[in-house]
Amino acid sequence: MSQIMGVINLVNEPDQLEQLTNYRCVSSVPFGGRYRLIDFVMSNMVNSGIEKVAVFAHTKYRSLMDHLGSGKEWDLDRKRGGLFILPPAVDETRELMKGDLYNFNRNRDYFERGSEQYVLVTRSHQVCQIDFRPVLEQHISTGADITMIYQEVDSDTFARARRIDVNPDGRVTMIEEYNRSLKQSKKVSMDMFLLRKELLLEIVERSLAQGYDYFVRDGIMKNLQKLKVHGYEFNGHLGIVNTIPSYYYNTMQLLQPEVWKELFLSRNPIFTKVKDEPPAKYNSEALATNSLIANGCVIEGKVQNSVLFRGVKIHKGATVINSIILQGCEIGEHAIIENAILDKDVIIRPGKVLIGDQTAQFVADKRKVI
């Protein structure tokens, strides 16, 4: 049995995904042709042997609930443990404005009932393949109070993320607010924290008693002197996805075969909700290169440097370049789509031309007919 219980904390998750989160929360934004963002951290937890995962839902979580269902796809539809989707108590509407620690407190039950010693608190917008078992090993061997996972990045992440400083002993000496001084450190927090359950509950209680209600800002950043916070460096591929530029950039990263392989062809699958779509169909005029194509697609035109979600239909003579086309879209004959993100079920009429810029993509809302 795992010693860790997982918490995927969606309360006030940083969100600058604009139209993509009009009708859904960050965690349920479609990503990578057939997934939703939350699939990555959920699968990472399950693949690391974690058998109990709570999702602290907050707002716009209807599509998330539909996606997660009973947790069956992640083997989390268990009698003991398994998946717990914990929505906020909506009858007290003022509480929606409060910080995440307030939610943690409302869910003390979840923590107290489990026999697990450790809690892993994460967000849902980190795209990666990570094994949490070595993190626990390091946590125990360093004797840290809290172990936070970070990555040293070379370039801009295009996302909202906190930079941190780590001293040579591995201790975290500073955590900054989101993007406040972007270039000071190359170390980016992955917003994943491992700590003993008792400590977490203590932080919740102490912070709330003092009127503070944010886990990272109030519970951890303010206590860096008192608490021994260690960093765990993650070296695999990482995509932090909470802005439109980071969404586009990290999707296009998947077209590098080594990234695609690391994320999807390791021995640890990324699980997601099953759809019964037939294999993708290419007809005699299909012309597809450097693209990811999901099942249910029918390709009769040209597709280049693009990611097509399930059930996309590209009609004859149509061209799709450098674009992300979500589930169920239909691109009419001879239409041209370039540098675009089309949300689900968008219909592009024959002959239409939509061209965005590499740095400012054309984004079409769900179900739009253009």
């Binding site: 019964d276 037939p278 294999p279 290169t289 450097n290 990811l292 194509i293 990611v307």
Partner: protein
């Protein structure tokens, strides 16, 4: 307990000898088809789409893969609280043990399974045909004709008629004659191996047939002829549409190729009649720069760097640069090396084709490579 109006019994015991290496470790209904499916998916999806939610699957030969594939039927929405899929292998009773000795005997041995649902009708189908059919319409027809047994029939080419069970009917579709694989067929109406029986009548004939020492315990050879002799009301249900027995390598290959038409007569993209299947965890397929894919079906988890023309690729297939695949069926997790050439072939699951190797010919017979094989570059 509640009753079920109609219970389906799916014969899935076939060894499928004519599929050679493909059925070495696998019952025929579990053979891969159409880039994603197994043959049995079509019959099971027909059941669920027709509202038939109680299906006994009779297994006997190499059932391990099939059993674990079927599970409790969740992929086909057949995991029901009452009814659903039940796998029915042969078993021992106090009187002794019996393997199934023919299709009719298989049903006979499972009469208690059927009786627990107290059905009025029993649908008997087999797991080795590719087709889409609404059994509820056939049941309506059976009731309307007040039949004892209804047999679905399809017109086949005259020259092929002697391979099938052939029916002669009157103008009201009443069956007047039934001949199993006749040398000189009197009609081209072939049995599709799909029967609806009124359970009371069938039960009576199963018990009679079981007692008959000379019977081979087969529906086509024994039970139907006996009913005809007794002038039971047997009617034919004419079916139009795609239907294919994929019992040979050639027909399996052909049925796969049929899917590659621009407008195939078996439409897999029809949302009102989905074909359900177990979905393994695979990412979207990756098409590399320089790849060329035409007239093909490719499943998730594939990566294509070379050329694929008029072929079906199952999940997890890798096609390296400069490899070329034409008119072929590539089963799951096959790895095809750089510059390899594959023509008119069926390549079994998990096989590795080395760089530069060639398999098959651009015309003539279909080449079959079994599963988990390793094809090396021919010397010289």
């Amino acid at each position: 307990m509640r009753t079920k109006e109609c219970v389906a019994m799916l014969l899935a015991g076939g060894e499928g000898r004519r599929l050679g290496l493909l059925t070495n470790q696998l019952a025929k209904p579990a053979v891969h088809f159409g880039g994603k499916y197994r043959i049995i998916d079509f019959t099971l999806s027909n059941c669920t789409n027709s509202g038939v939610d109680t299906v006994g699957v009779l297994t006997q030969y190499q059932p391990l893969v099939l059993n674990s594939y079927l599970g409790i039927g969740s992929p086909w929405d057949l995991d029901r609280k009452y009814g659903g899929v039940a796998v029915l292998p042969p078993y021992q009773r106090q009187k002794g043990a019996d393997w199934y000795r023919g299709t009719a005997n298989a049903i006979y041995q499972n009469m208690s399974f059927i009786e627990q649902y107290d059905p009025e009708y029993v649908l008997v189908i087999s797991g080795d045909h590719i087709y889409k059919m609404d059994y509820s319409l056939m049941l309506d027809y059976h009731k309307q004709k007040n039949a004892d047994a209804t047999i679905a029939v399809i017109e086949v080419k005259w020259e092929e008629a002697s391979r099938f069970g052939i029916m002669a009917t009157d103008s009201q579709w009443q069956i007047t004659e039934f001949a199993e694989k006749p040398k000189k067929p009197k009609s081209n109406l072939a049995s599709m191996g799909i029967y609806i029986f009124s359970w009371k009548v069938l039960k009576e004939y199963l018990i009679k047939d079981e007692e008959d020492q000379h019977s081979s315990k087969d529906f086509g050879k024994d039970v139907i002829p006996a009913m005809l002799r007794d002038q039971k009301n047997l009617v034919a249900y004419p079916f139009q549409g795609y239907w294919k027995d994929v019992g040979t390598i050639d027909s399996l290959w052909e049925a796969n190729m049929d899917l590659l038409e621009n407008e195939p007569s078996l439409n897999l993209n029809d949302k009102s009649w989905r074909i359900y299947s177990q979905n393994p965890y695979q990412p979207s397929m990756y098409i590399a720069p320089g790849a060329d894919v035409k007239r093909s079906m490719i499943n998730e988890g594939c990566s294509v760097f070379g050329q694929v023309d008029h072929s079906v690729l199952f999940y997890g297939v890798e096609v390296a640069e400069d490899a070329r695949i034409t008119d072929s069926v590539i089963m799951p997790n096959v790895k095809i090396g750089k510059g390899a050439k594959i023509h008119r072939s069926i390549i079994g699951e998990g096989t590795i084709i080395d760089a530069g190797a060639e398999v098959g010919n651009t015309d003539g017979d279909i080449t079959l490579i079994g599963g988990f094989d390793h094809i090396k570059l021919a010397e010289g």
